[in-house]
């Protein structure tokens, strides 16, 4: 364990290699998406925007993108409202079964994706929910809820309740206290929960693969079919768009965190 120069140098070189291993697969889709050829060759020998044109004009891709965006927005709203309410109930009451209920909310996170997928598939088949918007919203909401419950729960645990008591003693109603005192303080937790909910839905593949229909596909499902069945670089454009979306979202998370630490 001497912090010798040689060891340090070896470790640094190793760190760079690992960093490349982690970063390159993230970024390589960007140059390929601007390729002028109809192949995955890297580096591309010519450049062009044709893959983006296909992505934003061909119905199967554009619809998938729109479905995914709409779905993610609805799931975010539903999961954030339900999850925040549930986190409140869990944090503010001392029920004997609170631990079990909390575990239940986290369960979809722990159970392997394929198990959730076939369980939901088998049941949705009977209920006629396969390939329906309702089916997608419900399945994704279940997967997104844990993130909201965990995030809001964490911010509620750090919440100074004297603030609420002060508001109540000054005559504010429970709802006014919640709106004007509690919510502003726990907003960062709600915001990151919502962002995770969005990303969970926007990125979900395994369950979506099972409950999709040819008429209703999400973007990850469309991408999955593309990798399996075709050699079409449009997927590189799709990947880049997805990358931009998640980077923007990450930036938003960073902003909420920064404004919080400044507060």
């Amino acid at each position: 364990m001497t912090d010798g120069r040689t060891l340090r140098r070896i470790l640094t070189a190793f760190g760079i290699l690992v960093a490349a291993w982690l970063v390159v697969p993230t970024l390589i889709v960007v140059p390929i998406s601007f390729s002028g050829q109809d192949s995955f060759a890297f580096p591309p020998s010519s450049w062009g925007l044709q893959h983006y044109v296909t992505f934003f004009t061909e119905a199967s891709w554009l619809n998938a993108l729109l479905v995914s965006l709409q779905l993610a927005v609805i799931v975010t709203v539903v999961a954030t409202v339900l999850g925040t309410a549930a986190a409140f109930a869990l944090a503010r009451t001392s029920l004997p079964g609170a631990g079990a209920v909390n575990g239940l909310f986290l369960a979809p996170l722990i159970v392997p994706g394929i198990v959730v997928a076939i369980a939901v598939y088998a049941t949705f088949l009977n209920w006629g929910l396969i390939g329906t918007p309702t089916g997608f919203v419900l399945a994704h909401t279940v997967l997104a809820l844990p993130f909201v419950v965990v995030n809001v729960g964490a911010s509620l645990r750090g919440f100074d309740r004297t603030l609420e008591r002060a508001a109540a003693s000054l005559g504010a109603s429970s709802w006014a206290t919640f709106r004007q005192v509690t919510l502003p303080v726990i907003r960062p937790g709600v915001a990151s929960g919502a962002l995770f909910a969005f990303v969970t839905s926007f990125d979900e593949v395994v369950v979506s693969l099972f409950i999709q229909s040819p008429q209703l596909q999400t973007l990850p499902v469309r991408m999955f079919t593309s990798v399996t069945n075709e050699v079409d670089p449009t997927i590189a454009a799709a990947s880049t768009v997805v990358l931009v979306v998640s980077t923007v979202l990450l930036g938003l998370t960073g902003l909420t965190r920064r404004s919080k630490s400044r507060a």
Binding site: A41, F42, V120, P146, D160
Partner: protein
Amino acid sequence: MAVTTTEVQAPRTPPDPHAGPLPRTRRLTGPLVLLAVPALLTVLIFFVVPALRLLWLSFTTPEPGLGNYAAIATDEVTHTVVLRTLGMAAVVTVACVLVAYPYAYLMTIATPRWRTVLLAIVLIPFWTSLMARTFAWVVLLQDNGVVNQILAAVGVGQVRLLGTGAGVTLAMAQVMLPFVVLPVYATMRGIDRRLVAAALSLGARPSVAFARVYLPLSFPGVAAGATLVMVMSLGFYVTPSLVGSPQQSMLAQFISVQVNQLVNFGAAGALAVTLLVVTLVLLAGVQVLTRTRGARGNGLGSGMTGGAA
């Protein structure tokens, strides 16, 4: 996307010294409990009921009894798939530990700024979309892909990676790395360096001091991270499906074939139940491990699972 970041993000408002079960809260308990009902119903109806239904199917379809479980115990194809999955998970786990250990050590000796950079890099696979990342691996690993170009430049001939275990390992270990780096780093940060210094001053060679003092002290983090990776690798579906080959299918693909091609929900259910039980047992192991060793301030055992498949 995993819960690690949420743990980091948890607001650090100082805990209220007066907080705790107040008599005043009881007044609100009634209506507040109702707030959990919509979420609870959603999870019960659309998660618990399907899960129980699958369990039920595994005992009743095609005929009532333990036939599906007996088949798992006797069927040779199933054995091959299960063994391959376990082997693959073990290889990914070992690869992750071998890479994560020095990386985490580098984080402990780096300057604060570089430590932040190293941490950000290791979290990158979390924020990239699973499909985008998997597609990228397909491109990188193809026969004339970048990895093979580099191998050729170094003097190694062309290696077949796409559709092989090696390719799947490379792609899976990339996603799993954070799950080992974070707990190992957390444990390493808590190690008292003076213990190593003491060993050295008493005449131990550096390698001996490392093997006898530092390594055992960092072991709880390694064990926790390794178990998590092992557990999650067992259920991987997307990466093996797209980067691997159908002939070398892993358990999750095998389950999906039972459902999609053979429409055998009983067999698929029994396999899924088995996978779930193994997952839960291993995770309980991590919980016990992290709790007894008092892992330093990281809730990794609890939340960070699933998802990454």
